[in-house]
Amino acid sequence: MGVQQNLKFDALVLGGGIAGLEAALNLAEQDFSVAVVEKDASIGGKMIRLSKVFPTLDCSSCITTPKMAAAAHHPKVTLLTYCELQSLERRGDELVALITQKPRYVDLEKCIGCRQCEYQCPVLVPDAEQGGLAARKAIYIPFSNAIPQKALIDPENCILCGRCEKVCPTQAVDFFQKVEDFTLTAATAVIATGFEMMPLEDKVQYGQGQIPDVITALQMERLLAPHGPYNRVLRPYDGKEPDSVAFIQCAGSRDQSMGVPYCSRVCCMYAIKQAMLLSGSLPLADLTVYYLDIRAFGKGYEQFFQNAQAMGVNFVKGKVAYVEPGEGGAVRLRYESQEAEGGVQVVEHDLVVLSLGLLPGWTPGASCALSTGADNFIKTVKPKLAPALTELSGVFVAGAASGPKDIVDSIVEAGAAAMEACRYLAARGFKAAG
């Protein structure tokens, strides 16, 4: 990538997940120029990493990839991946963003995505894209449908053996690539920085990530994905097919003792969805969801929940208090059954999925004059009439950046944020072509 001292666009979209892409496409469809700044090496956000999505159960990739491709090919959209926002501030009519291009150690222009480097690299590293359940190389293309389809080197693990450099047919490997800062000015911005899953390590009651068959919901997404680590659902401890799988809801949400009092909004539905998908891939397995309240509030969600019950997924009201290793890779749970004959139950499951809550993907901190709510998500100033409005004039927010949100709601909000941005531009004399 060449030196980009100062780039100028009508709009800046921070975050290249589904909300960011949708916002960018909506702006571009009105012929405004848009830059999408994405911190990862590929656009697509969390959605591209999912298996199938509720309540339609269509494959997540099939819905995300066309949007990714549309953004990548739109003449009005510029994708800036592997870029970190340093600061965003308003200077008069302009928003000025200072952005760091992290080095990929691979020349984006030259790389043809042939993966020869990846095949040759001798270093194997747990692949975060596969929930750490499979390996990748130290030089790698992030995942099969990544955009851009270009390699990058993970300097933490690279041993500088030089094999990739030798094998690259286009001499794209560049060990001397440096961090590059550039500024980007735009008249308006949409913040679509999404969410991160709560770290498992924080959860004392749930084993702090030390119990092998206690996995996160995102790891389960990978196990269920057709291009996942094992191509089928196996438990990580010993590679056996689990006969009983449990989902622990509110594993960190709605829990003041864990510092997250809010509802993470999507966990009920993704757990139900995962249970439904498991009932397809493991038809004989017992599937149990331990929950406080099932929050199936969106269009078609309640019917989806009822279908799951009809399909034989067990729903048990009660919060699992404690998880510990059982015999032979099993996981032991303790919860209180609220039935009259119930009381405390100690049960074992072969595999346990924690429906961990959602945390903000980005907090502005000192980098920009946006503040956050008590939940640490971006604060909105007019949640009823203009849910996309932030404290900064001309800066709008969409999707999970302003609180946990499912895909449908994120996409709709992205449309709303783009509309606010378009009308903001129109009011300032920016003319869409045409």
């Binding site: 909506n26 009105q30 012929d31 999505v53 309540p55 339609t56 494959c59 990739s61 099939c62 990839t65 066309p66 491709a69 549309a70 990548a72 090919h73 995505g113 099969s144 449908n145 955009i147 057709p226 291009h227 009092p261 809010y262 509802c263 309240d293 099932i294 929050r295 199936a296 509030f297 969106g298 269009k299 078609g300 969600y301 309640e302 019917q303 009822q306 009201k317 039935e339 119930g342 998500f377 949640p383 009823k384 009439l385 203009a386 849910p387 996309a388 609180g403 895909i407 449908v408 996409i411 909000e413 449309g415 709303a416 509309m419 606010e420 378009c422 009308r423 129109a426 009011a427 869409a432």
Partner: protein, 646 residues
Amino acid sequence: MAKKKKKTEPAPEAKVGVYVCHCGGNISDAVEVDQVCQHARRVPGVVVARDNMFLCSDPCQEMIIEDLKSGLVDRVVVASCSPSLHEATFRRALARAGANPYVYEHANLREQVSWVHHGAAATEKASRLVAAAAAKARLLRPLESIRVEVQRQAVVIGGGVAGLKAALELGERGLAVVLVEKSPFLGGQVAQLQRLAPFGETAAEVISELTGAVLKHPAITVHTCAEVEDFAGYIGNFKIKVVRQSPAGAVYADRLARLSRSGRGLGEYVPFVGVMPAAIPEGREEFDLEAGAIVLATGFRPYQPRAGEYGYRDFPEVVTLPELIRQLAAAEGAGDTLVLNGRLIRQAALIHCVGSRQIPGVHAENEGGYLNEYCSRTCCSATLYAANQIREQYPKTRIFDFYRDIRTYGRGQEELYTEAARNGTLFFRFEAGEEPQVSRNPHRTSNPLLVKVRDVLTFGEELEVPVDLVVLAVGQEPNDIAHLVENLKIPVGADRFLQEVHPKLRPVEVSVAGILLAGTCQAPFDVGETCAAAGAAAVKAAAILTRGYVELDPFVAEVDLSRCVGTGACVEACLAEGALALVNLEVEGQMVRRAQVNPALCLGCGACVAVCPENAINVQGWTLKQYEAMVDMIVSDEYLEERAEG
């Protein structure tokens, strides 16, 4: 465009590329994809057949583009999911390759094969469908899309929050907007509320801000007491006949009385009325509107409990949540105990999920045979908000909350639940089918009603609560817009809300291009979600309107002048006024009568095709010859016989 002489025979040079998708197992789990490719390679005209895990991914689109660019193929068949999802994706890929986007055919191997069939039968069917698609592709010719000038005006139907917000967004974007509202008022259902959960904004401020901006906006025209009577046209050029007249009957009598009691004037907000922007018309007025895009914002109505449902109508002490909100606004503020209509409310029960989350076999259907199986999304927060309001203002009024699941999912909502617990609201949880029973109180307490419940939280014990008031948290139902649905020919879901094309790919669009959904006509939403949906609908409308033109599919009738003999049968059969006519033309030096198509008016239905004795007229991209070729492939076994070739 229709005058050039075109070939109707298969282009002998047609080189069809077939691309079969695994859809990450969605297809390949049921269909032997490599076998389908093998079969496809034996279909005449097919020069290459490839498969891939995700054809829709960027690298795979690149692969197709590469095959086109290198000249290997000049017709493309993609066999993947439903064309409704990806036909456009691949057409765009063809365009990126510099090819004509219409030399493309799609075979649906997911929704119509792998998800419904298994085993060898699935693979055989897939192969036949792919072969049929290839046979059609061989006969495809490049087409030019039709460019239609767009009326740079949007019509918004519905003057509630969704309609007002959508109108305002488009007006601010510099586009002309006409808002049509059936009632004399703006503000919709939100005007029937007081404060909005969870943050407590008032309905008054929300609606006043919207109506204030809308009514003074130079680009926005508002018609109240106005209904859509008739509708015609297509994206970019809709024609809408509106009738404006005094509303029939006494539906708005209560609100009009309230308005006149309030002493407020036109354009001013009146609680539980909304804003009346203009006087009610005396006579009947009809006018036509033109629109490039239409935003539907027809909203919802609260579920009306049946007589006897939780004692509703049987006992005057049973009210719905909207009724309570209205009564609370009029409540006397004296003392620590709530007084409604002169009655002291010491204990009140709130019951959730009334008219929502109904389960077939468990709950009774309504007169229309419907069950509201969906969750109404907003009632939990609204109910808890009301509970907190009462507890704060009238601390001696006890609140008992009966729920199935508390669904305080959104920002600031879980806090409402916590706050309710802190202020002493007592919760009971019941299972579906074991709804609380409301009856006259037989005990010697002075509370008139008794609520009985088998409480899950108390280990399934039966509990009784004597109360002075029962509040039913009723859900949302779509407004009755049968006339509009029929006129616009838009789909309605099983839940009776308007149905979007796809909840994620095209969440605010319906199957009729140019018509968009905003707010609760689509599904239950709260005010913030409604405004977001209105913004999303507005951005799609703006994309249609700002350019001043849209491009339409070229699938219209075309006359083959080498075959047309001017019988006029097609003109007689034509269903679209003005789309087909017989004209005098000079063909090879002779003046003759020949059929001619007006492509902007042609609907592309093909009524003309069936009646032409010469097969001289066809719908471009959907010709009779192409269908015949597809049937030939479906019945043929030639390409399936692998043993013959070893």
